[in-house]
Every structure is written in C-alpha cells, then in structure tokens.
Amino acid sequence: MRHTRTIALRELKLGFRNPWAYSFMALFAVFSLALVLIQSKAGLSGYTSTTGTMINLILYLLPLMTLLLGAFSLTAEKEEGGWRLLSSFALSTRAFICGKYIGLAGVLILIVSFGFGLSGMIGAIFGHAFPPSSFGRFLVFSVLLILLFLGISAILGAICRNRWQALTYGVAIWFFLVLGWPTLLIAVLGFLPYLWIKPALIALIFANPAELNRLFLIVKMGGGSILGPEYYRWVAWIERPTGSLVFAAVCVLWILASVGISIILWERGRRSE
C-alpha cells in the first residue's frame, strides 16, 4: 500500500513536469471555455445543442488525452529505465501499476477540473453558466471517461515497447472507439440477421466506454426518449437509481479488469527480462 502511494505521488509529480499535461490542460480549458461562451443561453440546461456539443467535445478530447498520457507514462518507464531501477527494489508489479493508475488519474482529473473550474467561473461571470446539476454531471462524466480509458491505456502501456508505438496504438484505439465506432458497427452489424442487431449493439455498447458513458449521461439528462422505442425498457431501467448502481458496478468491473490485465501483461514482461 505504501509502495502504491509512493508511486502515485511520484506519478503526480512526474505528470506535472511533463509539458504534455500542460498542453492538454490548455487545450481542454480553451475549448470548454469557448464552447460555453459561444453557445446561446437558451440551451444550458437539459439535453440541448449546447450540452450535446459539450458532451461531444469531452468525448473527442478526453479519451485521446487519457490514452496518450497514460500509455506514454508507462512506456517512458520502459524507455528511460525508470522501471529497470524500480524493479530492482522489492516493488510488486501490482503496486507499481496501481500507483501509476492512481497517480495518472489524479493528473488527468486535475486537468479537467482546471478546465471546468475556469469555464464554469468565467461562464458564470458572463451569465452563460451551466446550472450546477449539468455542471456536476459533466464533471462526473469526464472523471468516469478518464478512469475507464486509463484502464485501456494501462494495457496499452504494458503492450507497447516505446512511445511511438504507444502513440500509434493510442490514436488507433481512440479512432476505433470514438470516431469510427458508428461506421464500423453499422458495417459489421449489416451482416447479422435483423433480430440480432439490437442485442449485438447493446453488448458492444458495454465494450466501448465512450458509448456507455455517453448514453448513460444522455439518459440521466432526460434525453432517453430520443433513443426510440427499441430502447424503451433500457432507458426506463437506467433512469431508476438501481440503473446508476449497475452502471457504477460495470465501470468498476471495467477498471478492475483492465488494470488486472495490465498487471498480468507487465508481470509477464518482468519475468521474461
């Protein structure tokens, strides 16, 4: 536990010495601020174009940011010899990966908190502030995206040998899960019999943290009816408090599974050295 804490604090320190962290922080802050100021006052609460665009901005930026910062941090340990040094101590792989995960989560959450704090404050000054409930939902949505994609980046960091590889894979995964997702799914699901499309689609939503989070947020913002009659039961179910609990459980499962896989892969690499 002490090891995990030490690694996490070290990660926090390393994270904010990394110019990438500041460039992402500036990017996120500037875009969220611009978005808040551009949008009309009419759409700040509920599921509207303003909140919809905000969701998409977060979905474009945060997964990519998380995947790159996470995977870079792990591969840098391999490239720069940090891990070689640390592994000479009695440090378990689990403590190392968990510490890295917690530290990186801290760095990323601070980055988005800075962006939200800035845009929230300046938006409030100019009378364009999101109501506190929407603001809170966006913050929770962002933190969840970070935690889930950080799990994927941990696996990525364990697999990749260097930062170049991590960059290529990271961008590919981001493209696959965020940009190309509808295209790929529609192409593949077209081969399935009609009745299988919906169950397959729902199963695949659980496999994509970006979609899972997005749909959960839309339903919680009261926009569930837009998903149409096919998802009527799902929406009604998610709207209930038990829906939130199950969603939280799915997220925890996702994080545990991805961090677990990362530990196994990392451990295997350690043994083969």
Partner: protein
Amino acid sequence: MEPADRGVHCRRSAVQRHADRAREEKRKAKFKRRPGGWGWAGAFRSMLFTGLLLGACASAAWGSGAEEAAPLQPLIDDTPAGGTLVLVSDRAYAGPAVIDKTLAIRSDGEALVINHSDKPALSLQADGIRLQDLFVKDGQIDPKKPAILVQSDHNRLERLRIETQAGGIYLREAHDNAILNSRIEGARGGASEAYSRRGNGIDLMNANRNRIEGNTLVHVHDGVYVESSNETRVQGNHAVDSRYGYHFMFSGKPELRNNTGSGNVTGGMIMGVEGAVVEGNRFDKQNENVNSQGILLFDVRRSMIGHNRVEGNRVGIYMENATENALTDNEIVRNFIGMQMIRSHANTLRNSAFVANVNQAQSVDSQDNVLEGNYWDDFQGLDTDGDGFSEMTYEIDPFFLQLTKDTDAYQVFFQAPGLPFLAQMFRADTTNWLKDRRPLLASSFVPDGHVDEDGRILMLFAGAALLLSTLFIIYRWGYRRS
C-alpha cells in the same frame, strides 16, 4: 329580489315541492291500505320521512354540506323550462340527471354533483342549457362514458370542475356549444395511470362549431379530442400530463389558438385535417415518451401553423404526409430534434427560429418544400449584400433519418461523436436535401428571461473553488520540489 335570494327561494321551493309530493303519495298509500295492520306505523314513517326531508332542506338552506346527497333529477323536473335552478354551494346533489328542457343550473359558489351510477352525471338533451359553477364528481371508470354528455345545441358550460376516471364532457351531434373556463381532472392514479384506462377530457364527435375556451385538462387521455367535427374553436386551454393535449381527426377547419400543453406525449396532434389554424400555442416538455412531439401534423393539408412555440420536446414539429401547409414565425427551441419532415410536400416554412435543438431538423422523401428566412442558431452564414440573410444555404442532412428508418436500433447513434464522420462520407448529392435558401442570420428570438441568479452565484463560487483547489494541488504535489 336579488338573484341569490331568488335562487335560494327557487331551490327551496323545489325541495319543498318534492317533499310535499312524497308526503302526498305516502298519504294516498296509507288511505289505500286496510285500516288497522301497520297503517299507523306507516303514517309515523311518512311523518319521519317528511321531517327528515324538511330537515335536510333547512340544513341545506344554511349551507351545511355533510349530509347525504339530495337527488338532482327531481329538482330539475320541478324547475320550469326557461327557469334557473340554483344549487347551494358546498352542498352535494346526486346524479345521474337528464336535462330535457331549456334551463340554467348554477350555484353561487360551487355545488357538488356526485354520480355513482353508470350513466353520465348530467345529460344535456335540450337546446340552450346553461351549466355554471358545478363540481361534478363522477364515479364511472369506463373511458367511453362521460361525466357530462351533451346531445343538444347552443348550450353553455362554464366554470365546471369535473373529477372522473372516465371521460369528462362528451359532445355527440351537438352543435354551437361553448365549454368555458372549466377544469377536468382524470385518472386518480395520477400520471402513472395507463392511457388506455383514461377517458378524454373534452370529446367531440360529429359536433360542429363548438367553442372550447380557457379550460384546464389534467391527467386525461386526450385533453380535447375532436373527430369528424367541423369548425371547432379551441382557444386558451391548458393540457397537462395527458396523452395528446389537443387531438383533431378528420375535421374541417379547426382552430387551435393560444393553448398550452406540458408533459403530454404529444401537445397538438392534427390528423387528416384540411384548413386548420394552429396559432400562438405553446407546447413544452413533451419529451418523456419515445413517441413524443410538440406538434404532430399527419396528412394535414392547406393549414396555417404560425407563432407557436415548441420547447424542450423530443421532436418540436413532426410532419408526415403533410402538404401545402404554411408554417411561419414559429419558435422551435431546445428540442432533441427541432423538426422532422417525412413524405411531406409543397409546404412553406418561413421566419421561424431554430434555437438550441440537439438536432435542428431531419427530412426524408420530402420534395418541393420552401424554407426561407428561418434562423438556425448553429449556422454560420455569409451575408454579402447586407440584407440580414445569408447567401449560403442551410442544408438539412437526411442521413440519420435514412439510417434509422430501416433499422430502429441505430437510433442509439443519435449525435454520436463519430456520426458526422460517417455522414460526411455519404454526402454526395445534396440536390434533394431540404434547404433554407435564405437563412436569417440574426434572430429576434429571446429566451425566457428568468436568470437563475442563485445558480449563477453558486456556479461562480464552485468554479472558483474548483480552479483554486486544482491549482493548489498541482503546485503542492506536482510542481513544487519537495
């Protein structure tokens, strides 16, 4: 004599007459009986009955409402045609009652009419009846049966309050009636009651030229349902938490003006209608149901839809098979989808504002529609001649509607971040797209003025606190060399 006095007098005399008649009948019955036997007991009972009636009458005159409901029908029977029956406010009267002559029934405050039968509490069968200030509590549960049934013409129903699990006021082949400033509350189960188990608030069938104004309709099936009835004027009503707020079917020239609807499945549903005027209505928050919309126009022709505001609905205005309609000066705000147009032709849409809708508009299989001078808040146009209109057109991409038309399950991709990427790939020929050829660049649309000052100050502090604590943590554990 003051009207109130005259009313009390009239009512008292009606009850008195009823009591007298009962006494007379009892007396006759007594004399018909054989002497001896239980004749004296009968006489005693008769006296007791009369006493009770008189007592009821006396207590009613003082306005106490705790006793048994007095039957309404005898009171109506005893009121001469053209007369007025004034019921005592806070007093209960028992239906069902049939009104088969021209008269007025009213109360000074609000008299209660209770109905436990399976017939309407009040049936209007003569022309020119006036009902005013009554509270009808109807115990029926069959949605096809109303609390008040109107089968005659030129009646006026005003300031009524109806509570029922069944229907409210039904007009059957009844013309030129007015239903004004009444409140109809259905479904005691509240909003959770299934729509199929609720009756309509006001229901017109083969009834022409009726006026429905200033009514409030809560928890009913359809607030106002109009079928095969021409020239109905529905104005200034408010429909809440019902299936459809205002529903017109196969009716000529209906007018729907200045009504409001909130939390219904659909605000205004207009189907199979020609020459409708839908003007100045406001429909909010029709967004809970997967089939919700603000205004639905299906098979509507040559109608005018103007100056309406649809806000926060699933779909603001939905048009299917609608032709040659004029939509002008509408405000379509904060809906999930602003407007959907399916197989609709030759409609014009002018001077409307589309603001903060998640998706502004979708259209498939619709040609020859003219869109002009509308404001689209997501559009950055180019005005080269300074007339306030963009020379670039606003194009409405049919991709998503086309995609979901064949496979409903793909609706889950609504506004997915990857969807514009896919739509872009299919963007080849835009000639058949719905286009605004002269989009307005600045709108006079003003969002509702209520600025939540508390929320704003809270956000200011929350934002500042978040920012400062973030900076502190970054400095303390990130930046500072320890």
